[in-house]
Point group: C2
Chain length 327, copies 2
DNA sequence: TTGTAGGCGTTATCAG
DNA sequence: CTGATAACGCCTACAA
């Protein structure tokens, strides 16, 4: 293993000089720098980040915690994060959080071990408490999900308003029997969207109906299909369905069509997230889009401020209703 | 910042003893251990991984390099990797490689900085050379993609055979005018599947046809749609399309249907990968499935052996044709 | 502009 | 079973 000392010896300089070259200090004579550089490549020297961070107390590494790598919703956010992070010379590492009691501790150790200069958490807010406890003292921010009333800065859309907008749109189209397919109550957005849905209906003087709210526990296609099938089986069939994710919405449409009904004529369907597939599906999905890249960019900005010792205010970004053909 | 020394002082023992407790050495008296543990939680001590790795020369971190976080194909593989890694007490970090000339160096530094005990690379084989150069001396293996003839151990299906099987199946269904929608020639699989396709046709004595091979440069839905549209515009319309990814296949079906033709009656379509959506799409997609989790598990096993100084042989895993309704 | 030397927090060796 | 102490590789005063 070749260390700074070896490079120094090879170049006939001191370790201090090598370090200066490594860190682009101006105060190195051109010719000396050349010699050092040559030695570095001759010996194929690589810095040891462990040693460096031990000394400098920073790693220039950002950790992004997310609950599901397979959900492309997060991918776009990460892209936004990375763009900003890289422009500030931070490298972004992603870790899929496993909410497994047994493994929890190991994960937690990852966080608490000072390996990262900052953490961005997209985990369900119910597990953010765990994170909070572990990264205590370390800079971190939340993205999309957050613990309401908490001190941790976060970026998110207004899920309550978004759901309300969706229902308002359905109402404006003359729909009155509007059902909701919700996912997993561990997620904050689930509760907020539920409230938005409820309040919008209430404001229109529409009462709740038996079986009109289904909780799937996840966002897989088939779960949406199952939920919609249950709704269709009821005596009091809805004329519109709001699903909290596009995947659920697509599953729901499958069920509707399988039941011999038409979308949107018999039942209008609105999803959430505007995934790439939403536009290509038949019928193209009407959905609530989130500014995903921007979400990531803002989150990283918040983190940057946090790492600088500031206490930035949380941000709410705008959503938008993407009207296609399913509603 | 509280260090081992602080814990030692608090517990009235030496740093050596604290370290022993931290690392579960058996040779610590129960009562002493208790005292240390109490001090640790009283002071809320956290190990400094940088210091630890500087000392031990290992980080217990595995880096997974992939070209696209948004592609859920990789998510399943990562899940397989993580399962094995965690059972061996390694933590898995994912980094989306950015093949951007300007940023290349920073990335590269990440790899070469000894922060990881091992690397699993799923990048296109054309960029694996870069990786190879940078992680030189570090244990790494390739997954899915690999540089043929290289010494680096890898896991993959036999893309050549898989494509051949798909064409054989189409042939067995009486199709003769079989087209190929390929993606990005930076990927090894693209070339191999092309060869499989070509050889299968050749073996059946079917000559190449003008415009029957389209390269899209990516796997987005709309690219498949575009490619298929071009094929349909030709005088010599195909009666079957093999697409190297399900997303391309779905895009292709869109184009076929939009042209007033039926799938599979007029044109059969086969995809690749068996993504979650393949089964829910209408018509459900016939596709070549890969054992993704297993791919990840085997890759991690290979890496484990590599890290142990061995030179494991590469592995080829079986693919399977999932017959649904698009072909 | 360059060199010397100390220490970051941890683990491991060697005594006791 | 426990303690003192010497590295690990790097950066950065401070000195020259």
């Amino acid at each position: 293993m070749v260390a700074v000392a070896d490079v120094a010896r090879h170049a006939g300089v001191s370790t201090a000089t090598v370090s200066r070259v490594l860190n682009n200090h101006a105060s190195v004579r051109g010719e000396t720098r050349e010699r050092v550089l040559r030695a570095i490549s001759a010996l194929d020297y690589r810095v040891d980040v462990s040693a460096r961070s031990l000394r400098t107390a920073q790693t220039r590494l950002i950790l992004v915690l997310l609950p599901d790598l397979g959900n492309s919703y997060y991918a776009s956010i990460v892209r936004g994060i990375s763009a900003v992070a890289r422009s500030h010379d931070y490298e972004v590492l992603v870790c899929e959080t496993v909410v497994n009691e047994a493994r929890e501790r190991a994960h937690v150790q990852m966080l608490s071990s000072r390996l990262y200069d900052g953490v961005i958490c997209m985990d369900p807010y119910t597990t953010q408490r765990l994170v909070a406890e572990e990264v205590k003292g370390q800079p971190w921010v939340a993205c999309s999900e957050f613990v309401p009333g908490d001190q941790v800065p976060h970026v998110s859309i207004d899920h309550y308003l978004a759901a309300k907008d969706a229902v308002l749109y359905l109402l404006s189209k003359g729909r009155r029997r509007i059902a909701l397919i919700n996912s997993d109550s561990r997620y904050l957005y689930a509760g907020q969207r539920l409230n938005g849905y409820l309040d919008a209906l209430r404001a229109a003087d529409i009462g709740e109906r038996e079986g009109y709210i289904q909780n799937t526990g996840g966002v897989d296609y088939y779960l949406g299909e199952l939920a919609a099938r249950r709704m269709l089986a009821g005596a009091d069939r809805p004329d519109a369905i709001l699903a909290v994710s596009d995947t659920l919405a697509i599953g729901a449409i499958k069920a509707v069509v399988a039941a011999g009904l038409a979308v949107p004529d018999d039942i209008a369907v609105i999803g959430f997230d505007d995934i790439p597939f939403a536009g290509i599906f038949e019928p193209p999905l009407t959905t609530i889009g989130q500014p995903r890249e921007l979400l990531g960019e803002r989150a990283m900005h918040l983190l940057l401020q946090r790492m600088a010792g500031q206490s930035p205010a949380s941000e709410t970004l705008p959503h938008r209703l993407v009207i296609r053909q399913s509603a």
